[in-house]
């Protein structure tokens, strides 16, 4: 799966999790930029991504994530 495809799929997942239409997902996007991105929603986001891409992140990988860019790198390494 190439990067644009990953971003497209991620956009759908973000919109689903945050219940927002037309979100713009950029590599720099992080929790402080999105209303409602608290620790619980973060877990729900990670779980939704794992399910959608059929991958599992390790606990330390989840701990190290800083922004969407990190997430995409991780997905590329796995998917």
């Amino acid at each position: 799966m190439d990067e644009p495809q990953i971003y497209a799929r991620l956009t759908e997942i973000f919109e689903d999790v945050f219940d927002e239409d037309s979100m713009i997902i950029t590599p720099e996007l992080s929790a402080k930029d999105v209303v409602g991105w608290d620790s619980l929603t973060h877990i729900r986001l990670i779980l939704s991504i794992e399910k959608a891409f059929k991958i599992k992140f390790s606990t330390s990988e989840i701990g190290k994530l800083k922004n969407v860019g990190d997430l995409v790198t991780l997905i590329q390494a796995r998917a």
Binding site: D16, V17, D19, S39, L40, I43, R44, L47, S48, K51, T59, I62
Partner: protein, 643 residues
């Protein structure tokens, strides 16, 4: 992970337009209940459930009506993170007709909340408290091979749970819902863990056994999470990584399943479980099409793989009938042809005698199901319809959204399991009357045909040789009383639901007049068929708080006989007036004229349709009916005067 359970595959998949439909609903004026329920009746994942709950929360804060969903306040006490589960509970409850409000105290405040009189949970006056505990909430110490120490550990855990219950009972009187404990996955010895005292496995097993015994018959409820976890597989249930990450006590993928089970339990507490199973025949009850394949061609034999799948459906239907679920048939066939296998096929387990209503014709199935519901005097929302054809299922869902219609997989081997997984027939109590109910409906059909022959109603009633028995509430009848109070919808003047402790309180209060009524006739014992509660109103007045009757005995003049009995006790108690209320719901139109027909006079009417009625005790002489009267267990007039 088995997708039947993790994806709730007995429910249809959510439509493409789910999110859009939800948004449209959020903007409508309401009442939203019916449409919310239709949307909730899909196999929703956690994100979809969360969105649905958001719409419900918004509607509530905007003051919109959620009718006809039934309000229920549930406090959840847990030693784990339940924040993702709470919205799923609210949305799943809507699926089962409940407008759920969740009271959620801070993380891991179980004992404090239960034991403190003014705690958030106790102060909120919840209808029920769910102890969503997993084994990590209990002080479990290994004591390998030491039976005495193991037993002390088990008793300690049970004592803790009992203390929680006592706290709730003395502070808020809510129903307690306990969970059995899903055993941990990791063995210590291996197979020995099960038998050796003091291993985690044997301790958890023992706690589950004791907890089940403690809760059974107590008026509180056990949610069997251990069984649920075993069904989906303990390794899938326990997600260690999630526990470490955020103290989630089970896998996020199973939150929809767990929430549906909690919602079923609540719906069962509110008497919303289903009562009848309507079976399609061709390719559901047997393999093949009787009209094409003939008696010899249909697949129903032992030893035939396809036939055994359908036999499993029949066996499940028979077992359900054994516990009181009524069976009916709806088939597109000529009547004679459809009955042939029941009469002539040696391998058929189901016989015509098991089927209360048999509808084989060429009408559409929605029409047939309506006819079945009418004939059984049951609501459409008490019906479950099992059919292999997606077309028929779709039609019935569209025309009769109140009827439960499980999705079925292609493979008939999974039909019975899918029906069981849907949990339509979940109840929280089981009374002896349930055992006989399926038979009652069959007898009723016979009574109806007798009525057709008899012509004159009074002659018919006399021919039934009825005996009516009146008693005050007592411990023996309590389970059935609670069941009737929570299940009766149609012949129910006020539809007030009471829990077991509330019924016990009425039973023990000398100021309250309670009545349980049984009826027997030539066809057999109908069991308990009517319940009345009168509470003291103004001096000398009894307020009829509850008056309900089973629709099985409609048209038998039971209500007149009940009134005569009430009047007699009222006279002894020095009461000079009875005061009754009709509280309309969308199900009890049947009794709108109950009080005027009994000679009561209307004294008030409200815009909601609520009416109030009065009857002076002196001079009231309702017409009797030909039946033998037995009245026992009541205090004598002398005893009443000394109260």
């Amino acid at each position: 992970m088995n997708r039947l359970y993790s994806e709730l595959q007995w429910l249809p998949r959510a439509p493409e337009a789910f999110a859009r439909a939800l948004k449209a609903l959020a903007n409508s004026a309401g009442p939203l209940g019916r449409e919310l329920q239709v949307l909730a009746l899909h196999g929703l994942d956690l994100n979809q459930l969360t969105k649905l709950a958001k719409v419900i929360a918004k509607a509530r804060s905007d003051g919109k009506s959620l009718d006809p969903l039934v309000p229920f306040r549930l406090a959840v006490l847990s030693n784990s993170t339940i924040d993702l589960t709470v919205p799923a509970l609210v949305a799943s409850a809507a699926r089962h007709g409940i407008a759920l409000e969740v009271v959620q105290p801070s993380y891991d405040q179980v004992a404090q909340e239960a034991l403190t009189p003014g705690s958030m949970v106790n102060a909120s006056r919840p209808d029920a408290v769910l102890f969503a505990l997993d084994y990590r909430a209990l002080p479990l110490k290994l004591s390998l091979g030491n039976a005495e120490a193991a037993s002390a550990t088990v008793q300690g855990a049970i004592g803790y749970l009992q203390a929680l219950r006592d706290g709730i009972k003395s502070n808020s009187k809510a129903v307690c819902i306990f969970q059995s404990f899903a055993p941990p996955v990791e063995p210590l010895f291996g197979s020995l863990d099960r038998a050796l005292p003091g291993t985690l496995r044997s301790i958890v097993d023992a706690i589950n056994r004791e907890l089940a015994a403690l809760v059974f018959g107590s008026g509180d409820v056990l949610l069997d999470v251990a069984s649920l976890a075993e069904i989906v597989g303990l390794a899938d249930w326990h997600d260690t990584q999630l526990w470490n990450l955020g103290k989630f006590s089970f896998s996020d993928e199973l939150i929809p399943l767990y929430s549906d089970h909690v919602a079923r339990t609540i719906a069962a507490l509110r008497g919303k479980s289903h009562k009848a199973l309507i079976l399609d025949l061709d390719n559901t009850v047997w393999g093949g099409v009787i009209g094409d394949d003939g008696l010899e061609g249909i697949q129903i034999a032992q030893g035939d793989a396809r036939g055994e799948a359908h036999l499993a459906v029949q066996r499940m239907a028979l077992d359900l009938r054994l516990r009181g679920i009524v069976l009916a048939v709806s088939s597109k066939n000529t009547d004679e042809l459809a009955r042939e296998p029941f009469e002539k096929h040696p391998e058929m387990l189901l016989k015509l005698d098991h089927i209360a209503v048999f509808q084989a014709n060429w009408n559409d199935k929605a029409t047939n199901i309506q006819a079945i519901a009418e004939e059984l005097s049951l609501g459409l929302d008490a019906m479950v319809f099992l059919d292999d054809s997606p077309v028929e299922r779709g039609l019935v869902r569209k025309l009769l959204p109140q009827v439960a219609v499980p999705e079925l997989p292609e493979e008939p081997a999974w039909y019975a399991r899918t029906l069981a997984a849907a949990g339509y027939f979940e109840v929280v109590t089981f009374a002896n009357e349930d055992l006989q109910r399926a038979g009652f409906y069959l007898d009723n059909a016979r009574r109806a045909s007798l009525q057709k022959q008899a012509g004159d109603v009074d002659a018919y009633l006399a021919s039934l040789d009825m005996t009516i028995t009146f008693q005050p509430f007592d411990a023996t009848g309590r389970a059935r009383i609670v069941q009737l109070i929570n299940k009766s919808n149609q012949y129910n003047l006020t539809t007030r639901r009471y829990t077991d402790p509330e019924v016990t309180a009425a039973e023990n209060n000398p100021e309250v007049f309670t009545l349980q009524v049984r009826l027997a006739d030539i066809f057999g014992d109908n069991g308990m068929i009517s319940v009345v509660i009168c509470r003291p109103g103004e001096p000398g007045v009894w307020e009829i708080d509850t008056w309900l009757m089973s629709c099985r005995v409609l048209g038998r003049k039971v209500e007149q006989m009940v009134l005569r009995e009430v009047l007699e006790h009222a006279r002894h108690a020095g009461i000079h007036k009875l005061s009754g209320t009709y509280l309309p719901t969308d199900r009890n139109k049947l009794v709108i004229d109950h009080y005027p027909r009994l000679g009561f006079t209307k004294v008030a009417e409200e815009g909601s349709g609520l009416t109030r009625w009065e009857l002076p005790v002196e001079g009231a002489e309702p017409e009797g009916a030909p039946m033998k009267i037995v009245s026992n267990g009541f205090r004598t007039p002398k005893e009443i005067l000394t109260v």
